[in-house]
Amino acid sequence: MSNLVIILAIFGWAILTYLAFKINKTLGNVFVGVLALALPAYFFTYTPSDYTVSVMGMSLQFGFTSFASLFAMLVVVLSSFALLYSIPYMNKKDRLGWFYMNFMFSVGGMMGILMSKDLVSLFIFWEIMTWSSYLIVIYQGKKVNKVGLKYMIFSAIGAYAMLMAIVLINKWSGNVNIEQFFASFPNYSSAAKLLSSLLLLTGFGVKSALMPLHVWAPGAYTKSPMSYTAVFSGALSKMGIYGMALVAVNLYVHSNMPIMGEVIAWAGAITAVLATFWAIFQNDIRKLLAYSSIGQLGYIAVGLGIGTELSVFAGLYLAILHGLFKGVLWMVVGAIEHRTGKTDFRDISGLIKKMPFTFFVALVAIIALAGMPPLSGFVGKWMLYESMITSNHFIMVLFIFLSSTAAFLYCFHFLYGLFLGQQEDEFLKDVKEVPVLMMIPMGLISLSLIAFGTFPGLIFKPIAQAMSTLGFENVTWRMSSLTNAWGNSMFLKPANFMFMAVFVFFLIIITVVNHKKTKKVGTKDIANGGEPIRDEDNLHYSVDIYRPFYRVISPIMKYKVETFYKRISKGIEEFFQFFRRIYSGNGQTYALYVVIFLTALLILSSTIF
């Protein structure tokens, strides 16, 4: 079966799901579940084959490269999990058919992007993905007016930059095939090289929320339903990374334009630092995660921008991993929102008592996010650092290190503010653990994170294969500490086992010693100068908890990119306000215009013609 059919099947299924929801909610849910199960089942069993469609004289080609199938794996896994998760999560909401239809459309769009072997079909699916995600962003309909518009405008800017690049490439290369574009790229004039690649980068940069183009992301991630945001931030933003990897690596690395690679890398580094800083000071979970996503995408951009074998490897590894752990984290937020209806740190505390499973998966995901050694996130960071040091990007190392150290701040805020701290009986009274259907996706992805931490070879192999599409043959990690036998002689396995051994040893000791006299007490029983805490006192310290740090870095935080854009848009509107006066509404004026136009043409006729 050809690839295109899969995408069309997804689109068709989306419409069927919409109709099914019109008939009956249960039937619709069945439809959703079927897709969620069929998608990975089909994806992991079929063999790809190429397919060509001819439209308007252009031949659109579809097929998987090994690079695309790496991302497709992420998309398939994450979206099928998110779909499963949606079934209980979205249960109470209305217009489900509309939601799921757009959800599936965007999944189809993503698959389409990955299957496209030419730029036009890539653009088409890109736009399908954009508007379907836009429709989901505005689906909940509460205070989304500006957010939706912002998302759409920035997507449009990116998409049109890409479109311009595509038509130019069509002219310069003779067709829109991606491989041929890369093949003919070295023959471009230098201006053409610069223009086409910059435009493509702008296009992909918007989706991957690089710093000057990130403005839409916090709002859009926040406003869409969390089950979709898992895909949105986890997989959909990776489409930008996918494109950027293609462009950055194929163009800059192989065409001897390192300066552009530096631009990407620095944009990524600055994004990583500033977005992380912003994430630290958020008091809404969703905002925190949104900024964190932006920051994490910055790391990936750094990896791709530096463009050495190891850094690209690190970038791709982090991209896949970010999809997984951010997927879990958004699902965790969704779970909390589902059970408590709240997303502000002010209102939530002590959920570990009622939602221990959710806490556990959040803990795993956060450790992966923070890049701490027992879990998989560290491997990516490690590769990134090594690649930066070996390629002499030593100032950038500091940026990335600053960012990833600062990331601990919001990681702690996330875990502590939501799950730990004072347990308010009033608040926790009605809270329950999430339903099983929501547990399964979160649990499975967390398991995979743990597994990748101990056996990174599981994920190294597909990435190494994918790298061959980008022109890195026989990728191995030839760094100091490791050999190239994937995942077998790395530190992590001994480290993890060592850690586990010591941990278990002390766990036994500390649990057994004086076991009977070890009592568990409530969080109201704390040592605060002997003052007994009344039930109505809330001592949970989770709002604005990084004030001192804010005071330190406030000189940087004062400037916002948003202000800049606001000024531009205001300027444009005022400019056209001036033009508007031309249409005075007076017939005589219009007649005058005609006369003036005629006269002008007659006078200028000798010069014009």
Binding site: W131, A156, Y160
Partner: protein, 499 residues
């Protein structure tokens, strides 16, 4: 086939228009039914003729009263003009279905309304088909004269004012066109376009250019070119809802057709293309920019429409085959999508006095279908795939890239972002602003819904499979670009060979 003949395009609507009062005497309902039958017949006519044109590969040329060109008046149904005529007649049918039951288009007024609509249709198709420049003027006057009352159809003060403005500017157009024709006739002694085209080199340079400028001005007014389009926003916004669609899909098409003929066929002035391109760019930028600042829905749509006309001029001004194909695509799209927007938009602001955008806030839940279709139209016109607008934009951009107009690409795309801003402002308002409660939503009647659904289906289908219709554009472009072929077909005897 005997029945199908290009002349019927002109003759039948005129005939029916004059007979319509008589039908009304027989049965009142006939006033509303007969135009529909007419439009259906016109479509049938188009289909038959078009299949013939495609099969023979030659245009059908009808001579009125048996005189051969260049002396006689002739109608040329080529792949290009026939295509536009087809669009106009199909749109005519849809407008009829839509206005079958529309506000104030009730029994008393329906006679006047349908007569005018038919006259506009006849005139527009006549403009497109005619091979004679004076006839072209006449048909253009028919269109204009029947448009004036349509603008003022609601008998309000604003409508009358808008109509009056249109009248003033339209008068300038008539004068300019007439003067241009007179100049040409005085020099060449012929009114047949093929003949003129053949012999244009004989004209003295100065007079040729003056004639060109006069005709360009006159046709420019009809084609809504900046800064001659002052009448258009008022006319669009004051006319009844379907009439906006009529303007977008018929009148404007006729206008742009005349300009294209002027530049492509009649004169051999190369700078004409550049002038068209330049005017197109100015029109596009100014109109879209002003649309950004509009507070009334219909005015916004009108300015957007002007912007599309600018885009069309750009497409034809580039003057490569690819660009003309793109232009045909945009022309088709503009007719379909803008009609959909006008159709759905006029139901959204049905009860509103001022047609303000903020009056339709929150209508997404009240009028789900209409709002959805409006959104679809907005998606399509800003060029989101897989809707038809995308392909048009893509082909235009590719064409301009082929002509090395990189700055133009950037400009078009920036303007598209502006377009997105103001269209999505409305769409967002539809769904996510609070319903003010000031205006009761008015449910579209079944016929209106049907029309909108058909248009939406066309948009989606073409978007999914543009090749369905793409070949017609290519044929049309061929027909337009191949001037020699046109002359040869119209004047087989006088053909001496032009390169």
């Amino acid at each position: 086939m005997v029945v199908a003949n290009p002349i019927l395009y002109v003759a039948l609507p005129l005939l029916v228009a004059f007979l319509l009062p008589l039908f009304g005497k027989i049965h009142k309902e006939l006033i509303r039914v007969v135009p529909g039958l007419l439009f259906m017949f016109l479509i049938f006519n188009t289909v038959v003729l078009f299949s013939e044109v495609t099969s023979t590969g030659k245009p059908i040329i009808t001579q009125i009263a048996g005189w051969a060109p260049p002396i006689g008046i002739n109608l040329v149904f080529s792949a290009f003009s026939g295509f536009i005529a087809g669009i106009i007649s199909i749109m005519g049918l849809l407008v009829w279905v839509y206005s079958y039951k529309f506000k104030k288009v009730e029994f008393d007024n329906s006679l006047k309304y349908f007569v005018l609509i038919m006259l506009v249709t006849a005139g527009s198709i006549g403009v497109v088909l005619t091979g004679d420049i004076f006839n072209l003027f006449v048909f253009l006057e028919i269109v204009a004269l029947s448009s004036y009352p349509l603008v003022a159809f609601y008998r309000g003060r604003d409508g009358a004012e808008a109509s009056f403005k249109y009248l003033i500017v339209g008068a300038f157009a008539s004068i300019a066109i007439l003067l241009g024709i007179v100049l040409i006739y005085s020099q060449l002694g012929t009114l047949n376009m093929a003949e003129i085209s053949l012999r244009i080199g004989e004209m003295p340079e100065k007079i040729k250019i003056t004639a060109f400028i006069l005709l360009f001005l006159g046709f420019g007014i009809e084609a809504e070119m900046f800064p001659l389009n002052g009448w258009a926003p008022d006319a669009y916004s004051q006319a009844p809802g379907p009439v906006g669609a009529v303007f977008a899909s018929m009148t404007a098409k006729a206008g742009i057709y005349t300009i294209i003929r002027l530049v492509f066929t009649l004169f051999d002035i190369d700078a004409g293309y550049q002038l068209l391109l330049g005017m197109g760019i100015i029109t596009l930028v100014v109109s879209e920019g002003i649309a950004l600042r509009q507070e009334k829905l219909k005015r916004m749509l009108a300015f957007s429409s002007l912007g599309q006309m600018g885009l069309l001029m750009i497409a034809f001004g580039i003057n490569t085959k690819a660009a003309v194909v793109a232009g045909m695509f945009i022309l088709f799209n503009h007719a379909v999508i803008k009609s959909l927007l006008f159709f759905s938009g006029s139901y959204l602001v049905y009860n509103s006095e001022n047609k303000n955008i903020k009056d339709l806030f929150g209508f997404g839940k009240k009028l789900p279908l209409t709002a959805f279709l409006f959104g679809l139209g907005a998606f399509a016109i800003v060029g989101l795939p897989p809707l038809s607008g995308f392909w048009a934009k893509l082909s235009l951009l590719m064409a301009s890239a082929d002509s090395n107009l990189i700055a133009l690409i950037a400009l078009i795309l920036i303007v598209s972002v502006v377009e997105i801003v103001y269209y999505f402002r409305v769409v967002n308002g539809l769904y996510f602003k609070k319903y003010t409660g000031e205006f009761e939503p008015h449910k579209p009647s079944w016929n209106a819904s049907l029309v909108m659904l058909i248009l939406a289906a066309v948009i989606v289908t073409v978007g999914l499979y543009p090749d369905l219709i793409y070949n017609y554009f290519v044929n049309a472009a061929d027909a337009l670009m191949d001037k020699a072929n046109y002359i040869q077909n119209v004047l087989p005897s006088n053909f001496v060979g032009l390169n």
